[in-house]
């Protein structure tokens, strides 16, 4: 359970990367959306304890992450976009690093690597960027930390690998884990999300589960313009709209791109 309380961070004086973010994030796979520079990576860094907030705090299971207590740090893992592992291979990493994470599952790691066609003995220096990323993802999922933060996980992955990642996340993540996926490519894991977080210009404008969201609004695709939508967009010859939940019968699944655009246009949901 992640709790954000008025989380604020500024890289330079006067430029707040994140302002007053507050939310309660339970178990599940969450999508973190935001424009470039909106503060997504900052939020993930703060949640992982890699940065200390200027104001406010981020709590994991009630304890502030910025204190970096070992009991809490062993429950979080952050995998960045272009992160380096200080070891030559996944095998070395497993030997020297995985021991610090009590829920690490070596069998899961072996299965994940196998899916990507790797053994774990390959040297990072000899791998392409995409393959290195795949190995890192396989490892990060196998750590089975309570909180897993992924920054652009599908970056650099070819299409089959993206699909493998999708399956891997479906298979490896259990309901008690919280996974936050920050990405621009919504389509990849679209069917997996339990909740969504949206950052706009440093402000957390939405932090909700999909279920809760769908109780408030509906996403519809119609050939006729909708009656009283909160936000509507015309794509080809269909109207994609977000409307209050009671005003229509059946909602489609959440259209994240539409949701994002609506929130960027300051629509209140």
């Amino acid at each position: 359970m992640i709790t954000l309380k008025n989380l604020t961070y500024a890289y330079r004086k006067g430029v707040e990367a994140l302002s007053n973010a507050s939310a309660s994030i339970g178990g599940g796979i969450y999508l973190l959306l935001g424009e470039n520079g909106a503060g997504k990576t900052t939020l993930l860094h703060l949640t992982a304890g890699l940065l200390s907030p200027a104001k406010g705090e981020c709590l994991i299971d009630g304890s502030p992450v910025s204190e970096r207590r070992p009991e809490i740090m062993s429950r979080v893992f952050f995998l960045g976009d272009n992160m380096d592992f200080p070891f030559v291979s996944i095998e070395e990493m497993t030997r020297c690093h995985a021991v610090f994470y009590p829920d690490f599952d070596p069998e899961m790691l072996r299965r994940n690597l196998d899916r990507f066609g790797m053994t774990g003995r390959e040297r990072f220096s000899r791998m392409s960027l995409g393959n290195r990323h795949k190995a890192q993802l396989a490892y990060a999922l196998a750590l089975r930390t309570e909180v897993l933060l992924l920054d652009e996980p599908a970056n650099g992955l070819d299409i089959p690998s993206r699909l493998h990642l999708q399956s891997m996340i479906a298979e490896c993540v259990t309901p008690d884990q919280t996974v936050i996926v920050s990405t621009h490519i919504v389509s990849d894991l679209r069917n997996l999300y339990d909740g969504v977080l949206v950052l706009s210009r440093g402000r957390l404008v939405l932090a909700d589960t999909v279920d809760s969201l769908l109780q408030r609004v509906s996403f519809t695709v119609t050939s006729e313009p909708p009656v009283a939508p909160l936000y509507v967009e015309r794509r080809f010859n269909a109207y994609h709209a977000i409307s209050p939940a009671d005003s229509c019968d059946e909602s489609c699944d959440v259209d994240y791109e539409l949701l994002f655009k609506a929130l960027l246009n300051d629509v209140k949901l």
Binding site: L50, F78, M83, D84, P86, F87, C96, F100, Y101
Partner: protein, 242 residues
Amino acid sequence: MRLLNYYMPRLKKQLILYPVISVFLYMLIFFTLRWDGAPFIALIVYNIIYMMLFFGALIFASRNGMEIDTMLPVDWRRKALFLLVYTFIVVPLLVVVPIAACYMLTRQWLVVSPLLKEAYAAVSTLISGRYITCTVIGNMLPMAVCLYCVTSIRHNRIILSVVWTIVTCMIQSFIGGIYGAFIAFRQGFSDGYNGVELSSDEIASRLLNEISLLITPMEIFFAICTIFVIVITCRAIKGRQI
């Protein structure tokens, strides 16, 4: 300890290389003792050894991955203790023990003429001010600075660590040199003033005597600096920001 296991892949190289280099350097001196250029070779070897000590902490910067290091679920005090013990105890041992061992084994073959000994002393003390002012404690300061840079600098870690360590050495030598020269001049003036005529040898030895008595304030100053750097290093380990 798990922490040792964690750092071991990085430290392996140093644990093997340092003793080997130390032995090699000792052999270099040993086999060139009778040469004319022996004192200068010794000076070079001295400096290489000092560099090995000062830059020992660089090994922790040898692999990128500050995020993994920072996220590691280990109490910051343990991390700090590990780094400090390694930098200030293990690294010097890696350098000194092989040399001491070689010395023990080859002592009987060491033939050094008294003239050569004097030449050694003179060359060493005159060329580098650090030998006047620095003892064990003084040498800890560059090591501490290197460790601090390695733990707190984010970009261009290795280059900047090297630069700052060298700057520290230069400042120490500079301070030592000025201090020593100041003391020497004061001595020289007072003796000359009193009309005492001394041979150059006697001047040199009296100089060294007086100066060695005055090392203490210098030592204390460097010790305080070292402690300060160690404290901010611990703070950096505790609150390192990415």
